[in-house]
Subunit: 414 residues, 2 copies
Amino acid sequence: MFRKLATLDEAQEIISQHLPCKPLGTEDTKLLKAPNRVLAEDITAKLNIPPFDRSTVDGYAVKAEDTFGAEESKPVKLRVCGMADAGELPKTVVGSGTVVRIVTGAPIPDGADAVVMLEDTELKGDELLIYDSLVEGTNIMKAGSDIRKGETVLKKGTVLGSGEIGVLAAIGLSKVKVHAIPRVAVLSTGAEVAKPGGKLRPGKVYDTNAYSLSAAVVESGGEPIYLGVFPDRASEIQKALRRALASADLVITSGGVSVGPKDLLPEVLDSLGKPGVVLCGIAIKPGKPATMALIGEKMVFSLPGHPTSALLVFHLLVHPVIQKMAGRKLGAPLKVKAFAAARMFPAKGRRTFIMVRLRQDTLKRLLAEPVPTGLSGAITTLARADGFIEIAENQQFLDEGEEVTVRLLKSRAS
Amino acid sequence: MFRKLATLDEAQEIISQHLPCKPLGTEDTKLLKAPNRVLAEDITAKLNIPPFDRSTVDGYAVKAEDTFGAEESKPVKLRVCGMADAGELPKTVVGSGTVVRIVTGAPIPDGADAVVMLEDTELKGDELLIYDSLVEGTNIMKAGSDIRKGETVLKKGTVLGSGEIGVLAAIGLSKVKVHAIPRVAVLSTGAEVAKPGGKLRPGKVYDTNAYSLSAAVVESGGEPIYLGVFPDRASEIQKALRRALASADLVITSGGVSVGPKDLLPEVLDSLGKPGVVLCGIAIKPGKPATMALIGEKMVFSLPGHPTSALLVFHLLVHPVIQKMAGRKLGAPLKVKAFAAARMFPAKGRRTFIMVRLRQDTLKRLLAEPVPTGLSGAITTLARADGFIEIAENQQFLDEGEEVTVRLLKSRAS
């Protein structure tokens, strides 16, 4: 167990040591329900795409050699002897001196090796004048030229966007094996915390964290299970956490982890099973009281009660865990470069994160403006910040005008 | 009606002329279901946050003046006469010479105007030694200092992320009025097109577009209604489109819009109601046959059958319409700068879009590499392209090494 403050790097190392090496289970999903799910298997095409030689234009299927020498002023004359429709096997064979009318997407009839476009022909009775000389293969999409039977078209771990789902449909799949979505139980603690929706009794405040963290779980690709608010009593929190561990893959609590007499979480966590608390406080600001326990193989993150701190620690530590459990590759977080709009100082000896709002100055430079997260901005900061910047433990300060990297909390683009 | 090819700018102008000026209706949603929904009303706080003066630390509530002069070597001595718990109204008043034990988050008892931290005190029986001199307001978060009653905390049109949902919870809302999600009917046409999942009969190909476009609708913030595949027969397509118009806010078809004998869509669209086809072909490559009709106030987009072309036209024209209908502000699309990995040419007289894949070269420069979209890459391009670049109608070519702006089809970050 780690009973002293860990550095952020140590904390991340401890968490990744305890991460299950494999994502959660897999499940089949219908292709129409698959957007944004993560593929749990390599996908191999069981057929050629296209499955047959297809015409890419409306026109006439011919033997290319029958058109040799044709030009604007000297057309060749061939006999039309049938029609090749889309969706049907051609009934006619193209022999020397004959052509078959064909539409876009229709299979090429036997005997033909090119298609002349409608625009380059003229029909006179059942005779066709062709004004263009074709080479073999003209306007034909060969069987397997897009995807070859046996080819691996998509790899395990791919996040399914519109393009990938199109590929899966094209090779005939109507369902696909994907990684299960991590179920994340979220609960708040505190005698003063009340559920939104009801009337607020004196001395109480509405729960913020269970809601903002549930939404953050959705944004990370998990499914939140909202368990509600529990008073600061060991027995009730213990019962709630047992329920959470039974129903979820991961548990997030907030509140009850600093140093007061009612900050019971670390103790309760240790009582739930082995190994118990593995991380108890991190040398970051804000977020210092963040605690992590392991009960069997399930992780419990106990985040600070301050809404902005809770969400920051979620982004730093919990988001990557949910991503990993969901089978997602850990992509680089979205970042932008900006210029510090003010001088900013780190907390002594702690990696410091400062919430910032982005705005353009008159020269169209992007400025990162600190948003107060302290006493008077606990909640409004949540909605005002576009992202956060990081100041190293040993850095004296970040100067006004200095270039900084802002990690975005959300993408502003649509 | 517009029966000649429109330029892309004209097409966008025509579409925005016909866009309904208001988003669709609104609906109430539970806060836990609200992530990524769009707020349909300004939100005003009906209470102060915090609702009362709160202690931000564990310690003792005091009259600041009683601590004046206290220091490490010369503590002041005060009498403890009660306890202020979180979640309850304090029962004790702090008089001169007395303090009340208080925990983080508890309301400040009457008479007190500062809180001394536990660490700066020492308890001897019921007497407290205070080693620090406090000013008024120390460690107190004043009522309304985070959000003031009557303040507008979030504006109509805001997309609800974790931070915004936290703010709504904090002011006691458990549900919220959001814009309805646009329902978008999606269907494919073509005698040769078959639904994925079944066995493929000779001459048929599996439907790609209805699936990739349905997924693109989800990515744009709409709800797809998959209607299936319809053969190239006017009566059946007409029936399907009537059904689509009755059940959806917007309709997307693909296939059946180029120049062959079975390309019936424009004719069928005109038969469905007034004004009918308002846009018939666009001078872009790919995507030239794209058609748009207006039946009453509902839009029908008929996209080309080629999977990559269909998805490109969706991104250029349909995506912004869905966003607008959903009450979303039209954010700038996600773009990155890169260097052209090869010389690329536009189609004569048409705005040309080239699908590209991004990769880093050995100098860590981001390169945009064209992905073939032609005959042999109709479907695989969908999964290979990261985005597309644009070449103007009058531009001769884009040179290798030239800086280009890549519009991303999806965000690669997580």
